[in-house]
């Protein structure tokens, strides 16, 4: 009996010893880091830590503006197998607001939370934009920070289309049409915050208006134009479609917007050189076999013509400019040799100058400003300056626009030169004659494949006439445009 009792006690002891509690393991969740916080978005990192291969029914984050999480936003990431890190992201938060976040997991219906961390959403800021100048429809980049989803951009009061928002820091927008102000601040609106540029955006300027048409059904080429005063603009000579030489001029009266004929006492001609006060050279017959040069030389004063002694050279397609009343002519003579002549208005004499470093002709563009002459090479766009005091040439800049097939406009208004409209292009650029910086103007309307007929300055406007290139078939009127460099 004693044996049975001892055996029973022993078995009981074994039985107790063999009972082990079921190991439920350790599983918990932590809120590790704020990986990203912007104006309206945060990205949080959490971690499920467990010594078992658990199956979590749901996990994610709670986010609230108060530490008690009374009205939380829940980032639910769903089921998760096994322990490990997880990332949750939420957007649509309020700018510049303090939040509290904690990770959670739902294990078997029991929700556990991790530690609470605090974070703040950020404020937007405007850093810069580029380019600072442009035309409607062009793309512009705004650099800044915390531009969340739904950011709106305004140029003044005109809303721009936001094409791309890269990492909430770089907005690609399309420049909207201007309202009435060519210089406007760029404003970025996000939620209830507005940030704006310190410097205004400058719209590309240049307004065009057709003020008249050249009389008759004419397409004029290789002509002459000049003005002795701001209100009377002369266009004439040259040829009608290079088939018939045109005699005389048409004078445009800026005040009355009317045309009237003005006769020319000299020979009709094409490819003459001219300035506002002189014309000469060219060919008096069409065709090139051989060229029939005209050596007569004329001065224009108050709309009248005065014949001067004949030229000491023959030329076709030469280019001319005036400096302080003296005339400078560059080109090639009948022997196809480059020349550079100066006509002294006080002594009525011609002087041969040292040749220019490159060949210049009517295919280029020329203007004078101050005591210097300037030529834009129609081949490579180099802007040359010529100093008559020492006959020195130097390169100043390069025309940034399209050169087409050469022969462009160059007109000075105040401290700006307006250069462009090379043949078969429609670009005009403004050159600051103090800093020699370029700024693009709005392109000229009309057929881009046009060539220059004439250009003048009258008051704050340029008057420009072009005609479709000779190779463009059809009947076109020669529209006379008034160009406002500051117009939009």
């Amino acid at each position: 009996m004693l044996k049975f009792r001892s055996l029973g006690i022993l078995l009981m002891l074994f039985w107790f010893a063999s009972c082990t509690e079921e190991d439920l393991g350790v599983t918990f969740v932590t809120t590790e880091e704020v990986l990203f916080a912007s104006g309206d978005q945060v990205r949080l990192l959490g971690r499920v830590i467990s010594d078992q291969d658990i199956q979590v029914q749901d996990h994610g984050f709670y986010l609230a503006e108060d530490e008690a999480f009374s009205n939380p936003q829940i980032i639910s990431l769903g089921e998760k197998s096994g322990p490990g890190r997880f990332i949750g992201e939420i957007s649509g938060l309020r700018l510049g607001t303090n939040y509290f976040a904690k990770a959670f997991l739902n294990l078997g219906g029991e929700v556990e939370f991790g530690n609470v961390i605090s974070l703040s959403t950020l404020e937007p800021a405007f850093k810069s934009f580029s380019p600072s100048f442009g035309a409607p429809g062009e793309e512009l980049i705004i650099e800044g920070r915390n531009f969340g989803e739904g950011t709106r951009v305004f140029f003044g009061d005109q809303e721009a289309e936001v094409l791309e928002n890269t990492l909430q820091s770089r907005l690609l927008v399309r420049v909207p049409p201007p309202a009435d102000n060519p210089s406007v601040p760029i404003r970025v609106l996000f939620q209830d915050r507005e940030v704006s540029s310190a410097e205004p955006f400058e719209y590309q300027r240049g307004g065009y208006e057709i003020v008249a048409r050249y009389p008759g059904e004419v397409r004029m080429y290789d002509n002459v134009f000049f003005q002795n005063d701001p209100n009377n603009l002369y266009i004439g000579l040259g040829s009608e479609r290079r088939q018939v030489l045109i005699s005389g001029f048409q004078k445009f009266d800026v005040i009355s917007n009317t045309w009237s004929a003005a006769s020319f006492p000299g020979t009709n001609r094409s490819f003459a050189f001219f300035t506002d006060h002189y014309l000469g050279g060219g060919v008096s017959q069409l065709g090139s076999n051989p060229f029939v040069y005209d050596g007569s030389f004329w001065a224009m004063e108050n709309g009248g013509f005065k014949r001067l002694p004949d030229l000491p050279f023959l030329s076709r397609n030469a280019i001319a400019f005036e400096i302080n009343g003296d005339l400078y002519v560059l080109g090639r003579n009948a022997q196809i040799v480059d020349f550079f002549f100066k006509f002294d208005k006080t002594s009525n004499t011609w002087e041969i100058l040292p040749p220019a470093p490159v060949s210049f002709s009517r295919s280029d563009a020329a203007f004078s400003y101050g005591d210097k002459g300037y030529l834009i090479n129609g081949g490579d766009g180099t802007l040359w300056s010529f100093d008559p005091s020492n006959n020195e040439w130097s390169t100043i800049s390069t025309y940034p626009g399209a050169l087409g097939i050469g022969r462009g406009m160059a007109r000075v208004m105040g401290e700006k030169a307006f250069i462009g409209l090379f043949e078969r292009t429609d670009e005009i650029w403004e050159l600051d004659l103090n800093s020699f910086t370029w700024r693009k103007k709005n392109p000229m309307p009309g057929l881009p494949q046009s060539v220059l007929v004439a250009h003048f300055v009258s008051g704050p406007y340029l008057y420009i006439m072009r005609v479709p290139d000779i190779n463009v078939p059809g009947a076109f009127s020669m529209d006379f445009y008034r160009f406002d460099p500051e117009g939009i």
């Binding site: 880091e33 990986l35 916080a37 950020l122």
Partner: protein
């Protein structure tokens, strides 16, 4: 008969015990892991983030470490300011900050990477702590015995003297910056390599030049880090770098810029583990090989292993000139029998700021 039956049962019992299942070792090899190397500091300049893909390591050729091309790499601070890095087209996989980029003490930075396959990675935020100035840099000549060789290796240790701030826990990383030294060669011993145009094997001494200034960017031989657990708030001297004597560097005068960078505690921990792994010598006291997790994470798959670390810190630089007379042991002078200008990185004129 029953006896035989018993024996048969024993044999049958032994049979299953003889079956051994081979153990398959499931090592993950060949995975091309994104590797990030970036130390951005407060010294303005074009700073680099290098992205590569790891490949299988083995005793035989298995793969190449390839640069990660065409990624979008940005550094973002805790205000939301984003800096876009530009890939160096001459050194693919190297992404450079703008020239004026510099970290600011007190700010927190994250690195964000989007690869061409659309995966997005982010670093954990790295806070930039201020770095104390280096009071001075000294040197100490050391020799390193080489097993099986009579000649020893030698070089100089760079010893920094710093005043550690007492009100914060500081972690330091030192790196060798650009160096330059007076290079002496023997153009009088020049013998050209025979070629079709010059088949002669006779010496053809050159008139010039014996002395040049050679620039080089030394790879750091070792990881030099410290924390201030043992010297918090105290003035201390620490080993911060090593420059090996190759028989050329210390013939005359050597100059190096020593960079001292404040790093975060997590970056220090990472570098300490890397240092431990790289200094395993094969003894029984070595730490076991381990995969060291960095601070980069794949936003879609946080469990993806990303190697490397994004470090953002503040930096101070101290320049030191070392004259050959300061070395207590020097390697025999190496002879380059040519014009010194022919040596890569050498130029005749000293740099404008050469002021030993």
């Amino acid at each position: 008969m029953p006896k035989m039956f018993k024996r048969l049962i024993y044999i049958l019992l032994l049979l299953p015990m003889a079956c051994i299942d081979p153990y398959e070792v499931g090592l993950e090899t060949g995975e091309q892991l994104l590797t990030v190397e970036a130390v951005l500091t407060s010294v303005p300049g074009r700073q680099e983030v290098r992205l590569t893909r790891s490949d299988t390591y083995g005793s035989v050729f298995e793969g190449l470490i390839r640069p990660v091309r065409g990624a979008t790499v940005v550094v973002r601070d805790d205000l939301g300011e984003v800096v876009f890095l530009e890939e160096n087209l001459e050194d693919r996989g190297s992404y450079l900050t703008p020239a004026d980029f510099a970290t600011q003490p007190g700010r927190t930075y994250t690195l964000q990477i989007q690869t061409t396959d659309g995966k997005v990675y982010s670093s954990f935020p790295e806070k930039v702590e201020a770095v104390p100035e280096i009071n001075s840099v000294g040197i100490e000549t050391i020799t390193i015995p080489v097993e099986g060789e009579e000649n020893v290796r030698s070089g100089i240790q760079l010893i920094v003297d710093i005043q550690d701030p007492g009100d914060e826990n500081n972690f330091y990383l030192w790196k060798n910056g650009p160096s330059i030294y007076v290079l002496e060669t023997r153009p009088d011993l020049f013998t050209p390599r025979p070629s079709d145009t010059n088949p002669s094997r006779d010496p053809q001494p050159k008139d010039c030049c014996i002395t040049c200034f050679r620039s080089e960017q030394l790879n750091n031989s070792g990881i030099f880090i410290a924390n201030d657990d043992n010297f918090n708030g105290l003035n201390t001297r620490l080993v911060a770098g090593f420059v090996e004597d190759d028989g050329l560097r210390f013939v005359n005068t050597y100059r190096v810029d020593l960079r001292q960078i404040s790093i975060s505690q997590e970056a220090y921990r990472f570098l300490r583990l890397v240092k431990q792994q790289t200094e395993i010598s094969g003894s029984v006291f070595d730490p076991p090989p381990a995969n060291i997790r960095g601070n980069m994470i794949n936003l879609e798959n946080p469990e993806e292993v990303v190697l490397g670390y994004f470090i953002a810190g503040a930096e101070t630089v101290r320049r030191i000139y070392v004259n050959k007379s300061q070395l207590t042991f020097a390697q025999p002078k190496s002879i380059i029998p040519d014009d010194c200008r022919e040596v890569e990185g050498a130029q005749l004129d000293p740099p404008a700021d050469w002021n030993p």
